[in-house]
């Protein structure tokens, strides 16, 4: 049969953002795929070399729009490593609140995108609506709904506002009550059972070697989570499970892992775990200062050296390699985004053999966020 070329993206319902997949198909079967990026390139890494250590905090959230806080947290931790700062306990707990809320928000968006790609359009409408309650919390806490610019080297910008934890508890109760509805709509839906298992399979023995991280790696059966393997913030004190294939609890194990089904069920189960973590934080959060006493922000000088900090984002390992030459600005910052491997290398390798109708769901199940590819 004659081969055709199809461009999925950059403005396409089946692309996970401003990126493009160049797909060759033979009939309905994908023969080859190439990822093209560059639509969002703003040279963040170059800009960071021209801005002071503190000014960068306002710049970097833009590297990942759906989940900006992981950038602030990993950058702050890298700078703290160079400065040799130990931040107050309360700041660690507040950071964990922000990061878990961001994870919830990221997972709701990922599930929305996937459900839309398999034609279940009610799911995105409900989940995006529910996500707004999380954005309300962000607004109350930080003043911003999308970009928060809240975590910075030394702690967080300010303490929790009055009544925040009570409101957080209410939102968590609401979100938990909605999970049953999400299950009816998507996770117990026959369309999902038919279309997700054994689709878009990453070979299990290659997963780590290919640089797969986060929920995509856990869907392959590895219980690896940066919150456990390289703990940060308040996570060492918190009790949570790492959902991974085939430990799906009440969910049926369909397929053989590493597929769209496992990836989405892992995300669904992680929502429960995030709710559990946040409830523990509400009970355990200690009193005390929310930040260190900081030096004059204009005259900050960070000792020369190399530091790498990583956090677990809803997409995988998010890390910052920060290099200082002792000056007022970073000498070099390199951002390691999870989408860099998932969106390009992994997607190009697993796409051949897919039915064209499964291409978009597979791309969404990897939860690729193009801004962290280009930076």
């Amino acid at each position: 049969m004659k081969e055709f070329e199809i461009f999925v993206g950059p403005q396409h319902v089946g692309a996970t953002g401003n990126m493009m997949y160049h797909v060759w198909v033979d009939g309905d079967t994908v023969v080859k795929a190439e990822t093209h990026v560059g639509y969002l390139h703003r040279a963040f890494e170059k800009l960071m070399e021209r801005r002071s250590w503190l000014m960068n905090v306002a710049l970097i959230p833009r590297i990942c729009v759906p989940e900006p806080d992981v950038n602030e947290a990993s950058y702050a931790m890298a700078v703290e490593s160079l400065m040799n700062w130990d931040i107050p306990e309360r700041a660690k707990y507040i950071r964990s609140i922000v990061l878990e809320l961001a994870r919830l928000s990221g997972h709701l968006l990922a599930i929305s995108g996937y459900a839309g790609a398999i034609g279940l359009y009610t799911v995105p409408q409900w989940l995006i609506g529910d996500r707004d309650y999380l954005l309300d919390l962000f607004e109350q806490l930080t003043g911003g709904r999308v970009y928060h610019i809240f975590i910075f080297p030394g702690g967080v910008r300010w303490d929790l506002p009055d009544g925040f934890l009570r409101k957080l508890g209410k939102v968590l109760d609401y979100l938990e009550s909605r999970l049953k509805l999400y299950d009816d709509l998507l996770f117990q839906n026959k369309v999902f059972f038919e279309r997700a298992p054994d689709v878009g399979v990453i070979p299990k023995d290659k997963a780590i070697e290919w640089g797969v991280t986060g929920p995509n790696l856990r869907a392959c059966g590895y219980a690896y989570d940066v919150r456990r393997v390289d703990p940060y913030a308040a996570y060492p004190d918190l009790d949570f499970e790492i959902p991974h294939y085939p430990k799906f609890g009440e969910f049926e194990v369909l397929g053989h892992g590493c597929d769209c089904y496992s990836r989405m069920v892992v995300r669904r189960l992680e929502i429960e775990q995030s709710i559990r973590i946040l409830r523990q934080i509400i009970k355990k959060i200690p009193d005390g200062p929310h930040t260190l006493k900081l030096p004059n922000p204009i005259a900050w000088k960070v000792p020369a050296g190399y530091a790498y900090a990583r956090v677990e984002s809803s997409k995988g390992e998010f890390g910052y390699l920060v290099i200082s030459d002792g000056g007022k600005v970073p000498y070099r910052v390199h951002v390691r985004g999870p989408s860099y491997t998932h969106g390009i290398n992994v997607m190009e390798k697993i796409a051949p053999g897919l039915n064209i109708a499964d291409f978009a769901p597979t791309a969404f199940s990897l939860d690729v966020c193009p801004p962290d590819i280009e930076r």
């Binding site: 070099r332 390199h334 860099y340 390798k349």
Partner: protein
């Protein structure tokens, strides 16, 4: 096998990086470019199977390009940063994409942004930038202001809007 033991076995000097926030140890070592492949292979067989990233740093004063190969072990929970230095005026190295496939993408980016050649990588074409005709933009001597002035100040204003500018 712990990273320290591997370093000792290979006779490589290393230093420990400062860590606050995260908790696993990180080691940094400078290695010879022609030995790097063997060293990465050794680490890979000893559990360092997660290739985290390849970063490039332009040390303009020293006249070097530093390539940092970053590995992580899920067994011993350690990070290893292996640095090689290439001459800045003609940075050339070989591809290591056969060790970890995602290195290919990192090499494409480093080639485009820093101008480092990787022999054996056939995908070093246009990646993020489009129609770029200047020096690689992440190099320290690339003057962003000058580039913008030359490139965009010559673009004529939209007719009728000139007075307002």
């Amino acid at each position: 096998m712990k990273a320290i033991e591997i370093f000792k076995e290979l006779g490589i000097e290393y230093e420990e990086m400062k860590v606050k926030g995260n908790s696993t140890p990180r080691y940094r070592a400078k290695v010879e470019p022609d030995k790097l492949e063997e060293i990465i292979k050794k680490f890979k067989t000893q559990g360092f199977k997660h290739f985290v990233a390849l970063s490039c740093v332009d040390w303009i004063k020293e006249g070097n390009m530093e390539l940092i190969y970053h590995l992580f072990s899920y067994d011993t929970l350690e990070d290893v940063f292996l640095s090689i230095y290439l001459p800045r005026d003609e940075p050339k190295y070989k591809t290591l994409r056969h060790l970890f496939p995602q290195i290919e993408t990192y090499e494409r980016e480093v080639h485009e942004m820093f101008g480092v050649e990787f022999e054996g990588n056939d995908r070093l074409g246009e990646f993020i930038l489009e129609d770029w005709n200047d020096m690689p933009p992440m190099r320290k001597d690339f003057d962003t202001v000058k580039y913008v002035k030359e490139k965009y100040e010559s673009v004529p204003l939209v007719e009728g809007r000139g007075d307002k500018q």
